[in-house]
């Protein structure tokens, strides 16, 4: 009824290949962006921005990064946390070496380093598949984590072994460091995330995106159709790590302000993987939904019972959160293994045929 594409004719291939061929989708996206850029900054409080929106956007971007590799190119990775760490440490080093260069530029450049590292650890993917590949990425995870601890140059020989983000400004507005306002950080994170998400969506509808999906769906057939497996996989590793690296750098620059090596541990990798799987493998919109679910649900469970007057011990809440998140993961895998993105599609289909069942 409301979501119906009847009467919308496409007269060129150009229009047919646009990201949102259906008018209602375009309106929906416009509304979301309107909320993100105008409504939230006007109404949200600090807690909502710093503990919900900023982490949500950072994790969404990281999930898009992992999705490029695991969802689109079909290479399972458990090392995304460490690749995020590479981005963070690279950005930190860059900003200490070039304190006058715009920090957003440096954050974007830092991804290049994690892309390089990612490509190196992607090399075995030519010979190794599936779970076996997961082990090589696990090697990356543990090895890089060890490097973050053992190479003091990376954290400027700080006695604490942690990186702490100095104050940096752009156009006279403080955007990093403790003094940066949540609004300023929010805008930086929002713009970067939306921008990269858009660019990646473009890549996915063109030749390179297709070549990744070809490798994912049937690597042998892809090779017989002229896809060079090594280059294609390495590109996926590099692009994925680049995005994860930028997300990692944003995590410490615009959200946490300081990071220890343990911030980029295997736990983070798993968190991102959850987001990708629950959101939907191979879906950019799904990455956002997965990130929202995995990040916001625990926050919700943690703070809402207290806010509405239910007295539960802090640790009981934590235990319950673990149990509920675990159970929900299993639940969603059972009801819809293709994630929220598929549910969303099904929902749209339902709307399309409403009021008839099909």
């Amino acid at each position: 009824m409301f979501y119906r594409e009847a009467g919308q004719f496409k007269t060129s291939y150009e229009a047919d290949q646009s990201l949102f061929p259906i008018r209602q989708d375009r309106i929906g996206l416009a509304v979301i962006l309107l909320v993100a850029f105008i409504v939230i900054p006007l109404t949200a409080n600090d807690f909502f921005l710093t503990s919900i929106m900023i982490p949500f956007l950072v994790f969404s971007l990281a999930a898009i990064g992992l999705n490029v590799l695991t969802g689109f190119a079909g290479q399972l990775s458990l090392g995304s946390g460490a690749f995020m760490g590479v981005g963070a440490y690279a950005a930190y080093k860059l900003t200490s070496i070039f304190p006058d260069v715009n920090v957003i530029f440096l954050v974007l450049v830092s991804g290049v380093f994690s892309a390089g590292v990612g490509a190196i650890f992607g090399l075995p993917s030519l010979r190794i598949k599936g779970l076996y590949l997961a082990v090589t990425t696990l090697a990356a995870q543990f090895f890089l984590e060890w490097c973050f601890i053992r190479i003091p140059w990376l954290y400027n020989y700080n006695a604490s072994g942690a990186i702490e983000i100095p104050k940096r400004e752009m156009f006279g507005v403080t955007i990093s460091g403790a003094e940066a306002t949540p609004i300023a950080r929010y805008f930086v994170v929002l713009v970067i995330t939306v921008l990269i998400a858009g660019l990646i969506a473009n890549v996915m509808r063109g030749r390179i995106g297709r070549s990744w999906m070809m490798i994912r769906d049937m690597d042998i057939a892809a090779e017989l159709m002229g896809i060079r497996p090594l280059q294609t996989k390495l590109l996926a590793f590099a692009v994925s790590s680049y995005i994860c690296g930028v997300a990692g750098a944003m995590m410490v620059f615009f959200w946490l302000n300081a990071a220890e090596p343990s911030s980029y541990s295997i736990t983070l990798s798993f968190q991102i993987l959850f987001m990708v799987i629950l959101g939907g493998l191979g879906s950019i919109a799904g990455s956002f939904m997965g990130a929202a679910f995995i990040w916001i649900l625990p926050v919700f469970l943690k703070f809402v019972p207290g806010a509405i007057g239910i007295e539960i011990g802090a640790e009981t809440v934590e235990h319950l959160t673990f149990m509920i998140v675990g159970a929900l993961i299993i639940f969603f895998l059972i009801v819809e293994p293709h994630g929220f993105a598929r549910l969303w599609q099904i929902g749209k289909q339902k709307l399309r045929v409403w009021p008839f069942p099909y």
Partner: protein, 317 residues
């Protein structure tokens, strides 16, 4: 530098043979414990193709149940029996609630489900037993806790912990028992049939559900044994869960479906890790144990992607 890498470690090994023996022994024990964890993975992978990430938390959970029951006044042996019961219920529950609805899903989905299970069990375990580490009731279970020292030469000393010897013995018994179970019993044959082909097994009247419940229960028993042994070495706490990751390189070396492979893989990783850390780790600041096993597995994979005991895979189109 070259001297430090290629010569000095071997000189040390020869100069302090007692210490080298001790290192080998520690490697052996660590290897046995890794192998026990890997064994749990193998059992489940063999029968259902599921890579069970929850094996690590099952180790913790089994250990905590045992200790928790004992703390509440249940005699040690009764607690052991009850814990076995709990693991049985857990296995049945997992089969019923997680495995059965997810049958025929891709590997990664099943893997994620076991990670979800891990989260659930972490929360549930802490909810029931609390988060503090607990002392394993090794003595109460009649496990030896002392140590024996063998003197070698003038200052030489090799110390063997009795609990470690017990761990080795128990591991050997478990592997033998599982071997017999797999090869000689009706259920074992059914299990191997399921491992080869689910549908074919179904068509000859084997109940998948029953088999899965059984392997999860067997994995639970292995987890309990691992929990007791590892718990006796350190403590039973949730930090132990991370040790489960070590099972991955072990499985890479030994192959995902081979029980002897798990043991040999475990020993290789155990020896490799200890020798690497002790004799070469110092060159890069130590602590290389956290990744050495994975790098060993990675290098190994590059040269022999099918594992030690796997056959070369011929790809068909």
């Amino acid at each position: 530098m070259l001297y430090d890498i290629f010569i000095d470690p071997f000189v040390q090994m020869v100069e302090m043979p007692d210490f080298f023996l001790q290192v080998l022994w520690e490697g052996f024990v660590a290897g046995i414990l890794y192998a026990l964890i890997a064994l749990g993975f193998v059992l489940i992978f063999k029968a259902s193709g599921v890579f069970n990430f929850a094996q690590g938390i099952m180790v913790v959970f089994a250990g905590l149940t045992l200790v928790g029951l004992h703390e509440n006044g249940v005699p040690a042996f009764l607690a052991l029996i009850l814990t076995i019961g709990v693991m049985g219920v857990l296995a049945y529950g997992i089969e019923r609630v997680v495995m059965r609805p997810l049958v025929n899903q891709p590997d990664i989905i099943l893997l994620m489900a076991t990670i979800g299970l891990t989260y659930f069990l972490i929360g549930f375990g802490e909810f029931v037993f609390g988060g503090e580490p607990k002392r394993m009731i090794a003595e109460e279970l009649g496990l030896p806790t002392g140590s024996t020292a063998f003197e070698m030469g003038e200052r030489g000393l090799v110390i063997l912990q009795h609990i470690d010897i017990a761990a080795a013995v128990i591991a050997i018994i478990m592997v033998t028992a599982l071997g017999i179970f797999f090869n000689k019993t009706r259920i074992g044959r059914a299990l191997r049939a399921v491992a080869d082909d689910h549908q074919a097994a179904l068509s000859v009247g084997i109940s998948l559900n029953q088999i899965w419940a059984i392997v999860w229960f067997a994995a639970g028993l292995v987890a309990l044994a691992t929990g007791i042994m590892w718990g006796a070495r350190s403590d039973v706490s949730f930090a132990l869960e991370i040790v489960a990751f070590k099972a991955l390189p072990v499985l890479i070396l030994g192959g995902f479906t081979s029980i002897p492979g798990a043991i040999i893989g475990g020993l290789i990783i155990g020896f490799g890790e200890k020798i690497g850390e002790i004799y070469w780790g110092g060159l890069v600041g130590g602590g290389i144990e956290s990744w050495l096993a994975y790098i060993i597995a990675l290098i190994f994979l590059l040269f022999r992607p099918q594992g030690l005991f796997g056959e070369k895979i011929i790809e068909r189109v």
